[in-house]
């Protein structure tokens, strides 16, 4: 989960936009978030939900997964 409270709040905003079918602005918000918070996998994961095609979805998922991969399960 994103550690930054501001990032979390913005993710909720994006999620709300998405739920209300405002996909264009939801994606615009997430694209800017990916600039500002490139190390937050939730941002990339959320972008994957709005991918325009399979290749893009794979790219976003890979980015999220790559960030996750850098983490390890605590002992």
């Amino acid at each position: 989960m994103a550690t930054n409270a501001e990032c979390q709040a913005l993710l909720r905003t994006a999620n709300r936009l998405f739920r209300f079918e405002d996909h264009h602005r939801a994606r615009a918000l997430l694209e800017i978030m990916s600039d500002v918070y490139p190390d937050e996998p939730q941002v990339w994961a959320a972008l994957a939900t709005m991918a325009r095609d399979d290749a893009e979805m794979t790219q976003f998922l890979a980015r999220a997964s790559h960030i996750n991969h850098l983490s390890t399960i605590p002992a």
């Binding site: 913005l10 600039d35 994961a45 991918a51 998922l61 890979a62 997964s65 399960i73 605590p74």
Partner: protein, 375 residues
Amino acid sequence: MADAKEILQLGIEAARDGNREEARNLFALLTKQDPQNIQAWLWLAGVSDNASQRRNALERALQIDPQNEMALRGLRALSSSTRTGGTERNRSFIAAARERTGALFGRQTPQSPAKPARPNREVSEIPLAAEDELTDALETFDEEYSDEPRGPSPLMWGVLGAIALLLIVFLATQFLGGENSIGNFVATSTGLSDKSVSDATAVAATLESIAATASPQLTMTSTVPNTPTPLPEKLLNIAETLTSNGLTYGIREPLVAGDRTEKLSDVPAAGRYFVVVVLVSNNSGGDKTIPADFFVLKDDQGRSYTVNIERSNKLVDIGGGRGVVTDIAAGDALPSDSTPRSMALIFDVKADATNLRLYGSGNPTQGWQIAPSVQ
């Protein structure tokens, strides 16, 4: 940038709707993305919740444009607030904003009849649909902004009152009647006189009456069926892990419910495909393939969903193989080397499912909250 203007407009709408925190987050995001975005700094100042934040935002705007009149006036108002107080300070800021708005739309405001309207590049770039939007946002600011700590709102008072009433009802139902009566409780725990106990009993009777009126089903009776209570479910934090059957597992991020995942198979989803990426390490001493029913997704409708191994494998395949999207596929054997590996689990979830939680085998009462819905 078109996206930035859209998000600026989104922030303005949030401010207009009174959602200042969301507006602040959006404007702050824009300033982080582009520190030269003067509109974002000005709006951030307009929705800031303390003088320090506001001063900082206005100063940043002035660094970008030292002649920016709105920023200058805002700072002057802030400086004068130490002498005149917050309300006048706010009005000065609002007046400045209205003057700028009047200039923007080519007319004067009543607050500054002699002020010549002149073009202002920064303000005119604000993608407003109408003057009213900016004015409304600033008026919201005018009404709500205060350096003084605010007391509870009427709504908060209502909530506190309801909590107090529930507390009374709870106490009444806990102690009324039989051996648990308040009178006996008071007598045994304090050793009060008969008179005091009698008074306490009278109070108890009153409370019982209140409890019966407010919520009859909460009154204590001896006819409550003695049915076993299910164990309470504990929701884990995202960083917490569980262990069972030699496997340690956790989630790093709840991923993805999306339309695109429906292309993962020629077989259409009965509901919607939902992806959760988990991290699993095998400490069992031997390679293990995780059974399809090891992880279970549950919803508030009482349904359980198991992993669709075929579609999980397909996600790995179309993603470029193992180690790209995830380390391994759901059907792969997991080496016993205690190394956490990511694995995408795909569930076919009913479209109306809500409050999705992920559980692992051996820990039926502990899980992670994944999503409020699949939408």
